[in-house]
Symmetry: D2
Subunit: 133 residues, 4 copies
């Protein structure tokens, strides 16, 4: 489950009067990256919510290096950097035509329906390679 | 509870590469209009959700007459047109400097946590002037 | 260029506290449908903007029949209903597992950089099957 | 122009299936904070765009400490931390009922219509207290 890559085409509604993707559009693609990375390891995040486990974003950092435009096709590369029983750190790169246009990082934490920290359900821990020791 | 009016300033992120408010931004302001119309009648919509009553949009119609731009201040006028124990029809007008730039209409229905139609809770019915006959 | 169909997976950020796709998320998919319908006829909408022709939405109507949820895969079917040299009417259906969950319609008009109506550029007219008579 | 504070009420569409404000909603409020901080110093950002000066976000960092919910009223506090002739660093705090729920920081850069770095127009530099030495 180390890494996942998918293509997203920039939507008109994701762009702003500068004609480029608005900076608040990017975290949405990173979230898609986390979901797809999980799925590629056999875990549907939606099922985790039904088990009462929610993934809350605790930290977000983005470096916008080059702008991207409406209708551009970009690659979203998501890497799991580190995971414990309650937290995970992911790194992201956005590439257009092989050029890195954006880098980012998030820390997510597992919380219960009450918003309090809890362990990730076993399938999610396993998907993230967290040892059971 | 017939009518409510509030001012919204167009956000940069609500605008698109044409430099005008994206057409998908408007329904968000209409939803705010419904919320504020309820509040002005003494009902917080948030409390209704805690009673297990959700307001689902069943129909949306918008006529975009004149564009509006980033940083424009516009008035959102919300009118309750008709209400029954389960449904309500609202009309909306967006005005800039006294000129109607957009008109719209929605039908909303009350549903339970399972998504099935249910009666609005009593405070909401009362706020909407639905007779108890 | 009569019709186009594509699949979209519902994003977490497109859903609201009811756990379903927010009603303002749908117009974004319809816009994608129009873009892809054009592309399938050999015209990139992005190129039209570079020719000074912008597509403004003048009317939007949506009927939300059944809710859709985070991570659902739905089909967006876009049909060009009618086109003149300046306007076009499209119809949309959203299907999940073969069931129509939403229907919609838009009227779009071609405008110049100044926001005033203008003829669609020739490639766009041709893509829409508007006769040159 | 050191600091600005305004109140925002969390919109339904800004919240996600967890019932809390989605993490991608926050940068939009920070952008509003920058705009209002400029305005309080006598500069409308919209006018800067008409002078061919655009403010591009180069870096974004957010720490989400406590969640906030639909219909919550929160304070957005924006502080200009440092400014040069081409860049500015802002810090943000989101408070609910006096409690800091989120902190953030951005770096923005002034670019021309071509996306290349340029000096901020004089009114903007003055508003940011950049010395003319």
């Amino acid at each position: 489950m180390a890494q996942h890559q998918f293509t997203v085409r920039i939507r008109y509604s994701e762009c702003d009067p500068m004609g480029i993707a608005h900076h608040a559009s990017y975290p949405v693609w990173f979230e898609m990256g986390r979901t797809e990375l999980c799925r590629s390891a056999g875990v549907a995040y939606r099922d985790m919510e039904e088990l009462g486990a929610f993934i809350a974003v605790a930290r977000l950092e983005v470096r916008y290096v080059h702008p991207i435009r409406y209708d551009d096709e970009v690659e979203i590369c998501t890497t799991l950097e580190r995971a414990t029983r309650v937290k995970a750190i992911h790194a992201y790169r956005v590439l257009r035509a092989g050029l890195v246009v954006t880098t980012a990082s998030t820390t997510v934490a597992c919380v219960g329906p009450d918003g309090r920290p809890r362990e990730m359900p076993e399938p999610l821990r396993r998907a993230m390679g967290v040892s059971e020791a």
